[in-house]
């Protein structure tokens, strides 16, 4: 498995396994008066709601200040998901129909960790994407590019015991949108994850290395911090390339981690 750049994470992991408490008490009524919350994001590492180059954010972003919410039992608990939701058909987007999906076959894999380096086991990963021509199987997508009857663009998997996930899919195409003159979205795959708590939810987009459309894309550029932004770009992954069959890209995802203060006695 491709693990070349996860040494730091692996070291953190060993430390983490040795020192953390069980995730959280199961019976809410037995919790002490305060719960340990999740870390707040570092400045600039998450988008603001209003990013005017992304035109639809103008009428869809709040105008009044948000109210800071202390994390309560509501925020530190969250849904867990049955393994019934996933299967081989949901992990391989290229073989969900009678014929092979058209396009460049790729393996997308990586690990889901929290900010403390702890692997996020058995957590649901949902993905959706355009086909190789840059067309979504959706009634609102009117881009003049062909649909592929053998590609729906929908997948989901559960992470394994090490927090790893893996999909087989085709490389999505770029497509035009009407945000500004000659606007094109860079090729991307949408990811949706839950993690252990209401506040660990993450929906994001994975991009591809060497993509010439990234500098002009207002969605990719909505996050001020350049390093945070660039972590949305997957890495070409020789270790996972399948000879004569498929190229591979690696994309790790980090969910919010808990503050390390233990429960009050």
């Amino acid at each position: 498995m491709g693990s070349g750049s996860t040494d730091v994470n692996d070291n953190l992991l060993k430390h983490e396994e040795a020192t953390t408490q069980p995730r959280h008490a199961l019976d809410g009524k037995s919790l002490p008066e305060s719960v340990v919350g999740y870390r707040r994001p570092s400045p600039g590492t998450q988008p603001d709601y209003l990013h005017s180059p992304y035109v639809s954010s103008i009428t869809r972003s709040p105008r009044l200040p948000l109210i800071k919410l202390p994390h309560t039992l509501t925020e530190v608990t969250g849904p867990s998901f049955s393994a019934n939701l996933v299967g081989s058909a949901t992990a391989d987007l290229t073989t969900q129909h009678s014929g092979q999906a058209i396009g460049e076959r790729i393996i997308v894999s990586g690990r889901v960790l929290d900010e403390n380096g702890k692997p996020q086991r058995n957590t649901l990963v949902e993905v959706w994407q355009a086909n190789a021509c840059g067309r979504y199987l959706h009634k609102r997508d009117q881009h003049d590019a062909p649909l592929d009857p053998n590609f729906s663009g929908e997948g989901r998997v559960m992470t394994d015991e090490d927090g790893r996930y893996q999909f087989m899919t085709i490389k999505p195409g770029a497509y035009p949108w009407r945000n500004h003159h000659n606007a094109w979205r860079p090729a991307h795959i949408h990811f949706s994850l839950f993690g252990p708590a209401f506040v660990t939810r993450l929906v994001t987009q994975m991009y591809f290395p060497g993509e010439p459309l990234l500098p002009s894309d207002p969605i990719f550029n909505c996050t001020a911090d350049e390093n945070a932004r660039n972590r949305l770009i997957s890495q070409f992954d020789w270790d996972m390339v399948q000879p004569e069959f498929a190229l591979a890209f690696k994309f790790d995802l980090i969910l919010r981690g808990r503050d390390e203060t233990p429960f009050e006695a």
Binding site: V8, L12, L26, G28, E33, S34, P41, S42, T45, Q46, P47, Y49, H51, Y54, S56, S57, I58, T59, R60, S61, P62, R63, L64, L66, I67, L69, H71, L73, T74, G78, P79, S80, F81, S82, L85, G117, E126, W128, H138, G153, E154, G155, R156, H190, S192, F198, V199, R201, L202, V203, Q205, I219, C222, T223, A228, L232, L253, I254, R256, G257
Partner: protein, 188 residues
């Protein structure tokens, strides 16, 4: 040393491709204990227009004030048991509707019980990251809820549903992104 959480990106206009399989219009399968209710409302943008491409996710306690998933119940499709999770897209008119049970009270900061509420996450094209809000039930307990106390008094009403005068088990609650009745959203 620690890692940094991955940055959010919008769900975009086509999330139904990947998320629709788990739409949950009834959070409380037959046999779920508690008072059954329906919640109806609209999502409205800054121009007052309905948002037909939003999706909300609900997280709530059971009627005893316990989070069912935390006690082992897992979301399935279709779910056979109450899990407290729901995913509801808006329709072509920007409306959402779901049925569930009224949750019990759960502990809050300082050991003060919170009033019955649903945690609500809102996602749509145009939102670069999700918005988090809460829907409270129109009960006396809301007056002393420790989270509502953090909200300026004149805005608290945006978080409290109203009972439909013609259908007593139906609660009405809108999500307004801007304007005079902009819903209170939380930084959490």
């Amino acid at each position: 040393m620690s890692l940094q959480a991955t940055t959010w990106q919008t769900v975009g206009p086509y999330f139904r491709i990947g998320l629709e399989y788990l739409d949950t219009f009834d959070l409380a399968p037959a046999g779920t204990a508690g008072e059954r209710i329906a919640v109806e409302g609209s999502v409205l943008d800054g121009e007052g227009n309905p948002v037909p491409d939003a999706v909300i996710e609900i997280w709530q306690a059971n009627s005893n004030g316990e989070y069912a998933c935390a006690a082992g119940a897992a979301v399935d499709a279709p779910s056979a048991a109450f899990t407290g999770f729901g995913r509801i897209p808006t329709d072509n008119e920007g409306k959402f509707r779901f049925t569930t049970i009224r949750p019990g009270q759960v502990p809050g900061p300082g050991g003060v019980m919170q009033a019955p509420h649903l945690a609500v996450r809102v996602m749509m094209r145009g939102l670069l990251k999700s918005l988090v809000t809460r829907m409270y039930f129109p009960t006396e307990a809301a007056a002393s809820d420790p989270i509502l106390q953090l909200v300026p008094e004149q805005r608290r009403g945006t978080l409290i549903a109203t009972v439909d005068a013609s259908r007593e088990s139906t609660l009405l609650w809108n999500i307004e992104l801007q304007g005079a009745n902009e819903t209170v959203f939380f930084d959490c």
